[in-house]
Subunit: 260 residues, 3 copies
């Protein structure tokens, strides 16, 4: 079976449903419910566990690990470090979502520590977070976030090379790179930014995608495309509360069927 | 008034609405919102409080206590033990939901400690969790989880006898026993497993049911039947996000009216 | 531009959308998701952060701070005190939501400490919580909570004077006072009490309202009116799960357009 051919024929979310990976999420309490439900909607299995005494054992049975610093605290920092290192030892893919890393020096310091002690497979962030991470390494620089901004792309490539990981910067357009290969994904719906946790859920879905066999870059690109498409399908619903419900419906739909 | 007659005429959820018990939940942060909303949907009153300094006082005003280990941590283990012991002293019913107990030794050890230090009125779990709990006591054994599996039933009866509590094992079919009496409940909708917290919410509703006067076994059996029925009503909705909304609608509907 | 004239022409929620304030919430994990989504629905920006090491820095970039004790614990008490004091130093408005303060002595003691160490701009609570707070200061007294109860109004005025803050007591009718000025708001939908976090979200929206330039009393009165109106709009939906969705839809609608 030619897997790369399958990727073209089936949606990436459908591949996740077929594999049904267990995704261990150490994430913030604001989005934990929508993250779990979003993973379930595409046929993946979420497990949330953040106690230091158990995270190493929990991650050992997972297909992927997500570290999300949205409500970082003294208790979960140690758990994230322990889980990430164990995932590295076992070859389990690890995704970092550096929520609001630019907002406080506490987050900046901890993200730098994570990046220095853990080998991440993917950094999934928005443009401001990318700039904050890059700024720490290369001093601050102006960031033009206009469509297809060359600055953003260059910074993403540099960060990908520096940390030897994939970088997915998402927003009104997405960009994914491993430092050499690159892809732009457009589309979606602006209201995704008006629903809490949509970026966080995407990071969790990326962790599921990285657990699949085959070309990781292509899986990520496919997942980002599917997520944009889900937003567009949900976008038929003009009201924000109903839009939230429709996102779950659309994710399920895309994971169940063929790529449109 | 013949209460057992009422049980037959009204749904168990309607009895909960009539009594409106306060249910103290020490539960995981992933499902706390849906648990609170589900209890409110059937007319019960939820209170979530997990700080050691206040749980004994909080449980004292409650009609039932739920201990759920979904996101167990060093801070909440002590709170669970203190709340459970206080509930025992005051004769307030206590329900254990041993989420993912088989996944880590940390959870296994803590569940064993809970079972040895607290008298639970009900263990509400799925088949894997039941096997993990039983396995600790009787070494591991093969578990056939096919429909109406004799193994599951026997293990549930043994656990019920060992811990002198009711045991409700739920899944595509449910089984409830006190070690002697037993009941099977079928029906429901497979998609309940694709929504996070549906088992956790059921455990909270069971805590509400145990606070009612009358035959506890019959109340539990009635609640499990109503929950299956709610899933079937919601099941008219083919999409998972909308299905989540419809579960709340169906729980409210069943608690408001007569048994169908 | 005459701002007070604008207040009459545009809804208070529309003013919030226009200003798009960042609201720092240290709130309970049960309602954090609905609080974030509710703030986003009216165009405000939520940030949840409760770690002592970062709350002072985080609140410095916020337009308003909410302290909500719903799942108070030893870790967050210090964070609340530090964030509140920093907000006071910087002139950032602070709202207290004393969830269930009457339920345990732990909550009562901590709320008294908050009130003695932090200058709150607003206390947003229900009648029982108001009585508990007042009871500590003036010993317990009977509280008549009938419509337009003089007792409630007098207690609210006394508390407003004692703590030099606005007080908004909400329920089937709302009352807001600064100790001298006062306003009653009626309307709404009784089912707001059957959805978890509706009072908590209102407190967060009030924090957003207090960040606006102009007359704070009028902003609060306007927000309470808009919230009642949102409940009435959602009230067209007879089922509780769907009602939850419609509240978000209605909040977005009111923030987008003219006052009806």
């Amino acid at each position: 079976m030619d897997f790369s051919k399958e990727v073209r024929e089936k949606s990436s979310l459908a591949h996740i449903r077929q594999a049904s990976p267990l995704v261990h999420c150490i994430t913030n309490y604001v989005v934990s419910n929508v993250t779990a439900n979003g993973l379930l909607a595409i046929g993946a299995s979420p497990v949330m566990a953040d106690e230091l005494e158990e995270v190493q054992e929990m991650v050992s049975i997972a297909g992927g690990l997500l570290l999300n610093i949205g409500t970082l605290n003294a208790r979960t920092t140690d758990s994230m470090l322990a889980a990430g290192k164990q995932a590295n030892r076992l070859g389990i893919p690890v995704v970092l979502d550096p929520v609001g890393v630019g907002a406080t020096s506490y987050r900046q310091r901890f993200v730098q520590r994570l990046l220095s002690e853990i080998n991440f497979d993917l950094l999934r962030c928005n443009r401001g977070e990318l700039a904050a991470i890059a700024g720490v390494a290369w001093q601050s620089r102006g960031v033009d976030s206009g469509e297809g901004s060359q600055d953003i792309k260059e910074i993403a490539k540099q960060v990908a090379k520096q940390y030897r990981c994939l970088v997915a910067v998402t927003g009104d357009w997405d960009y994914v790179t491993d430092g050499e290969r690159e892809a732009m994904i457009t589309g979606g719906d602006i209201r995704m930014t008006a629903v809490t946790g949509m970026g966080c859920l995407l990071s969790a879905i990326c962790a599921a995608a990285l657990s699949l066999p085959g070309d990781r870059f292509k899986h990520l690109q496919g997942v980002l495309q599917d997520y944009k498409l889900a937003a567009e399908i949900a976008g038929a619903q003009p009201k924000i509360g109903s839009f939230q419900v429709e996102i779950m419906n659309a994710l399920e739909q895309l994971s169940a069927g063929e790529r449109l």
